[in-house]
Amino acid sequence: MAALLSPVAPGGQTRTAPPPSGRSGGVGRHWPFLLIVPALLVLLAVFVYPVAHTFVGAFTTPKPGTENFTWFFGSPANVAVLTRTFSTALWATLICLALAYPYAYLMTVASPRARAALLLIVMLPFWTSLMVRTFAWLVLLQDTGVVNGFLGLFGLGPVGLVRSQAGVLIGMVQILMPFMVLPLYSVMSGIDRRLLTAAQSLGARPVVALLRIFVPLSLPGVAAGSTMVFITSLGFYVTPALLGSPSEALISQFMYTQVSGMLMWGRGGAMAVVLFATTLLLTGLLGLAMRAGRRTRAGAR
């Protein structure tokens, strides 16, 4: 009966749309963009210009040419540093993912109060200075530190937790955890948990439902978090400098030595260019892979 009573739009009644009030095209429509000009100017001055200067310097200092790059790739030690930097970043990413995935999952199923507490715990590193945290790790991890002291009670150790790859990874993972947990949580909290109930009604054990439904749907969070952690860890300086071994330096420490110690600005610039280009290449490949995955999903029509 609702259909019978529903009003039929009377014909012949042409409704004239009122002209859009206020600004109509021209400069007026673009004036909000003026608001970002101050920020753009600051970025140009303190970010774009120095980066451009460094990149240009890589090709021009001390004299124009690719001398700096020949130097970098000519020495196996340099290439080893680059490889070590990427492998450290990869390990940091994998460890972060392994720790953050269950943590973020717990956040999605926890009560609102517990969730707030979990979020607070993961955010705490953000509120402490990087230096303070790294020194704190030094206190905890050194051979005479808290951890080895505790192990000593049982006649174990001391374990070389500091001045080693392990120390670097411990420090990096703790600092980078929020960058993995937050994107994961954001994606996971958007997954409809009723899908898991549905999967169970269709005969899937709870763990199968989790692996076949929840995990695939959380992959965008994995990709976002991993990219963020990986790229950030490539540029770490303070943590490897304090917790790492000088014989296993990462590329940022190498740049520092070249620039600050040997005043070889061109070589530092060349290393920056190589790191930048490699990072761009890797993230570009990841992005392409993800888009291809999406296309096979959406383009199956």
């Binding site: 009723r194 169970q200 009604s201 899937a204 199968v208 439904i213 959406a298």
Partner: protein, 383 residues
């Protein structure tokens, strides 16, 4: 639509609920529900939101623990069986399709869990898509389908593994009216073809009347009445059922036994009713709109036609408040002597010609009323 004469693929299971109770903290969501759903039956749980119908369904599906009572499927207690081992198909209001799988993968999901071979899977998926009339959509993703199509896929996924019980929780609730009416007929056809026992939850009484073999009316965590649509409409057991299913005129008063039935005396009327109610309780007489007839009062005549129009019938003087045109029929809202409203339905061929403001006599045969104990709390639910 041609009736499918093929023998049903599955023999439906019998479901026995005995004293099923669910408590959440201090509140009772389902209170001592006892009900048997016969094999192959289409049973609908009908009731307002919060009446316990969905919780009961969730207990059958295994999504919710049973606080007390037993649940048996084909005489086998399943109260402690986890959901994934119950072999029950479930269709949800929100479709619950897996967005990262194609339609075919979604439908094949329950088959993969049952380790069915790839060839067999392909055959069964195609057959299920055929049943829900969506062939050619196998490679699509759920996000590319309309709401109605998504619900068809969900239905295909729930029947593809030939479960002997299929549960549906307001499956058409998110769809617009036209599509809902169409899919109701589709679900009825699929029920006939598949042969499983269907339990369908809805708050839409019209939907319940269209689909069901029997309806269980839920209210306040309890079942008020179980019966066929005809039984519930013609012989409601409680005032709630009468109010929830269909429209009616309700006359309230004091009932006193007289002969085989009772006499109900209210504000400005005294009418005969079949049956009795407990002495000392207020009573309500329920009469359906199509059982009522309006006789226009002759202008100037003092008599109310109490015995003139229908010998032996009931007669109550009323004033017509409003007429509602429905095409094939019209409804007249009338004001009873005490101020309560009544509703009369006149078929297009038998119109009284009364208009709003006219005075008339409302008549009906005493056996067409249903006398029930009054429940003053009911009106609060419906108004």
């Amino acid at each position: 639509m041609p009736v499918d004469r093929t023998t049903p693929a599955v023999k439906g299971a019998r479901i026995d609920l005995r004293g099923m109770t669910k408590r959440f903290g201090g509140s009772v969501a389902v209170d001592d529900v006892t009900l048997t759903v016969e094999p192959g039956e289409f049973m609908t749980f009908l009731g307002p939101s919060g009446s316990g119908k969905t919780t009961t369904l969730n207990m059958i599906a295994g999504f919710t623990d049973i606080t007390a009572g037993t649940l048996e499927i084909d005489d086998r207690p399943v109260g402690d069986t986890p959901a994934h081992k119950r072999d029950i198909g479930v269709v949800f209001q929100h479709y619950a399709l897996f967005p990262h799988m194609t339609v075919a993968e979604n439908i094949a999901f329950p088959l993969r869990q049952r380790k069915i071979s790839k060839d067999e899977r392909r055959r069964l998926v195609a057959a299920a898509l055929e049943t829900v009339q969506l062939p050619g959509h196998a490679a699509r993703y759920p996000g590319e389908l309309s709401g109605g199509q998504q619900q068809r896929v969900a239905l295909a996924r729930a029947i593809v593994f030939s479960p002997r019980v299929l549960l549906m929780d307001e499956p058409l609730g998110a769809l617009d009216r036209k599509l809902r009416e169409f899919l109701q007929l589709e679900i009825k056809r699929i029920h006939r073809e598949v042969g499983s026992t269907f339990v369908f939850v809805t708050h839409d009484q019209e939907e319940a009347l269209i689909l069901s073999d029997r309806i269980a009316v839920f209210n306040n965590a309890k079942i008020e009445q179980v019966g066929t649509a005809h039984e519930l409409y013609e012989r409601p057991a409680t005032l709630f059922v009468a109010r929830f299913l269909g429209e009616s005129t309700i006359l309230r008063g004091a009932a006193r036994p007289e002969g085989a039935g009772s006499t109900l005396t209210g504000d400005g009327f005294a009418v005969r009713a079949p049956g009795r109610v407990d002495a000392g309780r207020d009573a309500a007489l329920v009469v359906r709109p199509e059982r009522l007839r309006l006789i226009p009062d002759e202008p100037g005549s003092a008599g109310r036609g109490a015995s003139g129009g229908t010998p032996g019938g009931n007669a109550v003087p009323v004033t017509v408040l409003e007429e509602i045109y429905l095409g094939a029929a019209r409804k007249l809202e009338v004001v009873l002597p005490g101020g309560a409203r009544g509703l009369v339905r006149e078929q297009a061929g038998a119109l009284s010609g009364l208009r709003a403001g006219d005075r008339a006599t409302l008549t009906w045969h005493p056996d067409d009323g249903v006398l029930l104990p009054d429940d003053p709390t009911i009106e609060r639910i419906f108004t």
